[in-house]
Amino acid sequence: MNAPSPARPAWLGLLARAPRGAIEPLLAEAPALPGFIRLRGPEIGMSMVRGRAGGGGAAFNLGEMTIARCSIRDEDGFVGHGYVAGRDGALAELIARLDAALQNAARHASLHAAVLAPLAAAEATRRAADEARAAGTEVRFFTLATMR
């Protein structure tokens, strides 16, 4: 059994957050994924989301969300898991296949360059745009400071 890569949570998160339809076009450019068998799913279920209001205090049950998940084993013997918000079982399966292939040192570098790097760049751009838009609505109470 190989030790799990420390980067694995990062790439699983990146793939799960990628907008619908963003992964397939990237895969068209990437080397083909190996064949696989399904171990579990794709199946749809509910997951309880817990959180703290304002980041403080005890965690409480915020509500349930729908998730799709899938686990596969590829031809090289790597087991991959895909979890994604919503009901898209095919996307969960695709993420599971990518997860399995990314664990394989022989495939990791090319897939990282073809899929993960563009997704990470797109996510960074999206996040910067959101932050810029939010910054425009920020209120600085300088009047209160100067009137004192």
């Binding site: 059994m1 190989n2 068998i37 171990l39 579990r40 199946e43 084993r73 013997g77 790597f78 087991v79």
Partner: protein, 187 residues
């Protein structure tokens, strides 16, 4: 690298197995045959694997004396936590432990009694027994692959109704239920 293999191909397989379990518990002593299609890892019969995939989940502690790949497979597909036979809801074994060592439930919550799943080479060898009780219009004579010590344990357990252990005998794709309400006597 791992040798993890698939479980049920479809949720319908679990429902078919649940239906077979209802049939088996409703007609004690009659062996039912499960559908083909499950390929469990070594050390686990198809019937025992199907029963655990159908019934066990994250809320049912499981005790099983199996090789590591089979334990990994059960853990992955059921999500059940592993524990000791004394605290397990489902106990899988190749030969019967003393029934009194398993969870018995209580007078007010007899459903907390354990289910013992015996994974056996076959269901036809063994000693002649006469079964009677709920589900059987007339006593049924059959052969059960169980030692004399089990029958003594069973008679002892019958004195503390409704507490006790339900037993499932599995071999290959066949399974046979012995609900705790059943009386088993040597024929």
């Amino acid at each position: 690298m791992t040798s993890l293999t698939p479980g049920f191909a479809s949720p319908l397989d679990a429902q078919a197995c649940f239906r077979a379990l209802l049939t088996a518990f409703g007609d004690p002593g009659r062996a039912v045959t499960l559908a083909d299609g499950l390929a469990p890892p070594a050390g686990l019969s198809s019937a025992a694997a199907a029963v655990l995939l159908t019934l066990a989940d994250a809320t049912t502690p499981l005790a099983a004396d199996l090789p590591a790949p089979a334990l990994h497979w059960l853990g992955f597909h059921t999500g059940a936590p592993f524990t000791t036979p004394e605290t397990a809801e489902f106990c899988l074994a190749g030969s019967a432990p003393p029934l009194s060592s398993l969870r018995q439930g209580s007078e007010t919550a007899p459903e907390h009694g354990a289910t013992l799943i015996l994974d056996l080479p076959d269901l036809v060898s063994g000693r002649r027994c006469r079964l009677s009780g709920p589900g059987l219009a007339a006593p049924r004579e059959t052969t059960l692959p169980l030692p004399a010590s089990f029958l003594a344990d069973w008679a002892e357990q019958r004195r503390q109704v409704p507490r006790g252990v339900d037993v499932l005998l599995c071999a290959g794709r066949r399974l046979l239920a012995l609900p705790r309400s059943l009386a088993i006597e040597p024929a």
